[in-house]
Symmetry: C5
Amino acid sequence: MKSENIRAIKLVRSTSKLGKAPGHIGYVGLKDRMPSRISLFRYDKNDVMEFVVDSEIDSFDSSYCSLLNVIGISDESVINDVGKAFALNNLLLEDVMDAFQRPKIDEYENHIFGVFKMVYLDAQRKVIIEHIALNLVPNGVILFQETEEDVFDGVKSRIKNKHGRIRERGADYLFFALLDAIVDNYYVVLEDYRDRLELLEDEAHENPTKETAKKIQVLKKEILRIRKWVFPVKEIIVRLLQSEHPLMSKDTKLFLRDTLDHITEINEDIQLYREMATSIMEIYMTQMSNKMNEVMKVLTVIASIFIPLTFLAGIYGMNFEHMPELHYKNSYFILWGVFVAVGVGLLIFFKRKKWL
Amino acid sequence: MKSENIRAIKLVRSTSKLGKAPGHIGYVGLKDRMPSRISLFRYDKNDVMEFVVDSEIDSFDSSYCSLLNVIGISDESVINDVGKAFALNNLLLEDVMDAFQRPKIDEYENHIFGVFKMVYLDAQRKVIIEHIALNLVPNGVILFQETEEDVFDGVKSRIKNKHGRIRERGADYLFFALLDAIVDNYYVVLEDYRDRLELLEDEAHENPTKETAKKIQVLKKEILRIRKWVFPVKEIIVRLLQSEHPLMSKDTKLFLRDTLDHITEINEDIQLYREMATSIMEIYMTQMSNKMNEVMKVLTVIASIFIPLTFLAGIYGMNFEHMPELHYKNSYFILWGVFVAVGVGLLIFFKRKKWL
Amino acid sequence: MKSENIRAIKLVRSTSKLGKAPGHIGYVGLKDRMPSRISLFRYDKNDVMEFVVDSEIDSFDSSYCSLLNVIGISDESVINDVGKAFALNNLLLEDVMDAFQRPKIDEYENHIFGVFKMVYLDAQRKVIIEHIALNLVPNGVILFQETEEDVFDGVKSRIKNKHGRIRERGADYLFFALLDAIVDNYYVVLEDYRDRLELLEDEAHENPTKETAKKIQVLKKEILRIRKWVFPVKEIIVRLLQSEHPLMSKDTKLFLRDTLDHITEINEDIQLYREMATSIMEIYMTQMSNKMNEVMKVLTVIASIFIPLTFLAGIYGMNFEHMPELHYKNSYFILWGVFVAVGVGLLIFFKRKKWL
Amino acid sequence: MKSENIRAIKLVRSTSKLGKAPGHIGYVGLKDRMPSRISLFRYDKNDVMEFVVDSEIDSFDSSYCSLLNVIGISDESVINDVGKAFALNNLLLEDVMDAFQRPKIDEYENHIFGVFKMVYLDAQRKVIIEHIALNLVPNGVILFQETEEDVFDGVKSRIKNKHGRIRERGADYLFFALLDAIVDNYYVVLEDYRDRLELLEDEAHENPTKETAKKIQVLKKEILRIRKWVFPVKEIIVRLLQSEHPLMSKDTKLFLRDTLDHITEINEDIQLYREMATSIMEIYMTQMSNKMNEVMKVLTVIASIFIPLTFLAGIYGMNFEHMPELHYKNSYFILWGVFVAVGVGLLIFFKRKKWL
Amino acid sequence: MKSENIRAIKLVRSTSKLGKAPGHIGYVGLKDRMPSRISLFRYDKNDVMEFVVDSEIDSFDSSYCSLLNVIGISDESVINDVGKAFALNNLLLEDVMDAFQRPKIDEYENHIFGVFKMVYLDAQRKVIIEHIALNLVPNGVILFQETEEDVFDGVKSRIKNKHGRIRERGADYLFFALLDAIVDNYYVVLEDYRDRLELLEDEAHENPTKETAKKIQVLKKEILRIRKWVFPVKEIIVRLLQSEHPLMSKDTKLFLRDTLDHITEINEDIQLYREMATSIMEIYMTQMSNKMNEVMKVLTVIASIFIPLTFLAGIYGMNFEHMPELHYKNSYFILWGVFVAVGVGLLIFFKRKKWL
């Protein structure tokens, strides 16, 4: 079921870190541990280079803009190496390796560090939530991600494209571009939710079954849970816009304003979809109760017509010796007339009352 | 169905722009692409001129107040030409061409740029939502709109009227007048909603059917959705009022305060209508359940009267050899008396209990 | 129906002003047009004079405190004359003549202008909503009202009373006194609502009928609608208290704090009454469902007792040749025993289950 | 009924003060008028004196800390005398005599004036709401209360106790101590509510009757109404804490912070109890509907078993000449077998479906 | 029942402290009184010492970082001794001994005092709520707790570990570490709630019984109540972060930001779980009503089929002399045909209507 993945995200948190010192570096998450792999993009207006980093990690060359991409966050030694090369705080490294960390932004003296959740649909349209850490340092960005899979293809191809604007701008623009890609992908999941909402709405109107209720509830729960990872991002971007940090230029903030617009819209849409799910549940309940009412009405009408008639028939089934009607020649036929009259009369009565 | 149009507005967003660089200029929307047409109004106290612009676009003549009206936003070359003529930012042009852009206001050094949704009813009273971009530049306003159809006839006729106050005032007043016309038209849609709410309320009270519930839900959904486009406008106007931008004069802000009053009222009304829709749904549910209760009561009364009587008749239909009552001369008639007595007794009982 | 009047208030707005320039002066409202009548109160510590003004209007004499009372707001020429005499802005005059204008306060350089809704019960306890505009100018107040009927009798009699404190104070105190009278009258309507709520609560508890639900819904709608006109007043008074306008003295603000207390209480009460209306609707639903349950229980008990008995009787009504029981002498009487035993047994069973 | 007292509190407001000038001094309330009685406590570190004041009232002696206790607020002459002795504003005296006045705090140049509602349970555990006015003046506090009954016994005994800290501190500490006693007593009423909520919760779970719903609704209404008098107190204490008034010392504010904690907790509890009341109503509805469902199931099962059997019996009660089964020797016994088989079969079917 | 413990926490408050002076020191709580035991940890980079303190208490040695751990808060003399040794305010000591005190933080000139609730699961997974007071003084922390049981094992073992970072840092880091341990343990209780929610959700979907509703309500109430103790902690940490108190270093605030992240997440989760509990209740109601509908449908179908058939059979059970059908040879068999036809016809009708 689609919601499994989201549910799983929260399962280990409380037990795995309890009693550990803050700043203790160790992987917290649900993925299998695997060795991290590091690649490095280095570009300026004229050149783009891509390296696989497997020896020592150096800090960034100041004549380029660099993107250090660390794939896999469960390998403590690699994370530690990166931390040493860029003089990163232990608290920060702890957050890098904690797949349950809530989205946040922390400004340090000479870098800006953010944690986000990348949300996307895989090939089976299952919602995947992945932990991302972005670190804006002088002359580049360090990007930590849990798996190979990501939403940064667009950014990378724009880096490779000689005429891309990204090539002419600094590390803060790269930081923004990666964040923007993350936010833009929220739309994909929201669109999936909207499609399902609309299918469910039609189902609730046209053909409500027990399954419909369950599906609405599952979707509602998914929306409740995705909200947790997406809502804090707005506050983060607002804080970035207000920040006076020297690494974040005015120019890039102009672009960030656009991202703020998007995340604002996304947050509003999440709220909207929740209200719509509630609305659809209401439609479902109404339809179910309408359907039930119809069933009950048929019983009412059939029972109300035949119960009195059966009584009448019962009377002439009695074995009293002295029942004059039994001996009249036409009583049987007259009684049939009464049967029909009573039946038709009740039918008309029900019709008038608009019960049929 | 009326809600179709609103639903459609959101359909392409996520897929069409994913992976594009911010500031990438290209049409995003649901309309067919068509060449843009440009017209230019130029007026001062004494003269009004109207041109069709089909050659080069110049920046505005400082001795007049000008309105450059670009109809059709899917023609990239024209949008680009306008952008170059007035030195407009690419991010801004992107917003101009994105029919899904949320309402917003951005202040640039020498112009103020706003995106709005024009909402109006067409001839078939269908709700039309159209993307509008307004750009206040020195000596004039650039107005981008999706189609020929708009809500600015009043403004244009006031420009043509020699004694209109608009003729004596600057570009910021023109900007305000266009914005005010957009906001005023929200009232028309709200009035349509109110009319439908009142019809539905009467229907829910007098003659609730399954269709009623559906109509209430559709209306509620429409209100939820229109809210998305109208709510942000209030914040925009508040920001305009607080702005210290040299292009926006104190005098014009006096008029904008009025527009703020209107949009505040509109937002409150949208909330009010939502609450009313919920209320009407409640009325509907109550009415349906009352109706059902009435149906059930009739069954109860008929069954409760005739089931015991049928039992009595059943007794004397038994074929025991020794049933003394069968041989008494008057038992049949006495039994009829019992039938009537029991029936009437139960009827009185039910009447007393106020079930009839 | 009581709610008619409130509903009507909103009907023309959208169509009547669409496309008009802001500041266009013309009556907007539902009352018949009639010529305005103007009267002037002029008082100081020693004297009170009352004039009917039918010639030219002068600005106020600085040695008195004056109240210019314009009754009827549909007469453009009179409103214009007043405007000229006191150099009033066109936007302000437009608000004076617009009976749909939302409550607001605007501070101008040398006057303070406020729009309010006077709400009171007429002789038939119908809720009347009337448009009021108050303009505090140097040495006096201009009061515009729609009809003769108003809530200012108390203020006027205090002016006429030689020892009234109002006689010793300036125009700002008069402004406050009129505003205070408007706010105090909101209590009357609220009291009417509370009385109706309490009647409805009793009705819902003791004797709920279909009418009860309708009455609750109507009251809830009325409360929703009155809220619209009363809620903005609190913000207005807060703004007056914060204002540094020279026409508003510190001393008078002391009194205004009291009015703020009152309007705060009124707003809280409106919220409270809404919650109570919802609560009463809940009571109604519970009572209806309890009532229905009782009806259903009776059917259940009667049917559950007699259906099995009828089956038993049916058995011995069968015509098989070989049914030994038919020929035993006492079977009929034994069967009666069974009937009674089964019936009583089921009754006891139901009693135990607390269904009776 | 317990709620009577609370309901009564609001009854006269709107009519009794309408049209009176602000600052008009006169009793507004529901108690019988009675002459006020005044007593005076005067204490310092060494001495405590208690006087009955029946002649002239003097302002406070500066070498002691004094508490002037005015019992009964309907005696205008006494209130006026006190007002004159301490140079109190008429607006203030009006609030003293208005038992409907909302809780508030007003700072004057040389005194701090507060209105509160004392809430306590009387011997019959009925909720009593009483109007209290506290006036902190130099060297003492003036305390106005409606009746003899109050919650200040603790404070008074601490004054009389030679070692009480209150004896060493100034008038502002006395003011705080009285306010603290009022706030502490809110806990008593809340505790009563909580006890009733818990009883109702058990009742709703174990033995819901029609009375249960009524009791829940009454309690909910009481909570809604008590909220009105208690909620504003938090804001008042916050304002006192922020106040720079010379009469309120820093030391006393340290104690007031504790009172703020308490009132914050009380307000949260009131909200909590409202939510719990709603929750209990839900439990009640669920239980009632479960109970009804059980009743309906029994009908269903009995009817579903016996209706088909009755039909079978009916068949063999028919009088056709040619019904072969009637003549077989064992048909009657076979039919009994069928009866049992059908009955048991249906029972098993229902059991499987978990309807029994 | 699990909720017992939580419910008990509030029971004595109102009666036990009423009328006592603020700052009155005395135990308020539900635990049995027992003598307090005091132990002292004293550590620096090189050494850790642990003492049992049973004679006089000294203030802290400035060359170490100390943790004074007072277990048991009902022993007034010990609390008073500690108070004297560190010159603590009486108001503070009152809060230490009041197990019902709401979480709070108070900054004094030379110490920072906080009250919290420690929440953990005992061996039987029962929720235990325990009162904790933390006092940050120069060179150490004073920790008051109700019982031996606590959540500080991790902190203590990190103190004992020579390489723990805590050994190199000051008293404010120790204060933070204890607070962090308290907050981290909230996750354990939340996880327990989440597990129960998920079990209940499955139960509501698959096998809803009357018990399910009760369990959901109990859980909802527990969440409502735990919220009361956990929610204020966020505000406390925010205030600590904004504090300029010299005892709280910038470095430690860096760690506190992490704790803020956690408590924010915890508060959001509590809200989320409440919404989920409401959602599950909805699922339960839907399932119950679906189940009931199914039961009713079976009755409807059986009754609707057999009632008309029984009527038919009843007709031919009548004893009229002249009933021609009775004498035809095949009428009985034809009637059987009619029975089958009507029965099958109705079945098909119901099938078509999707009632089966």
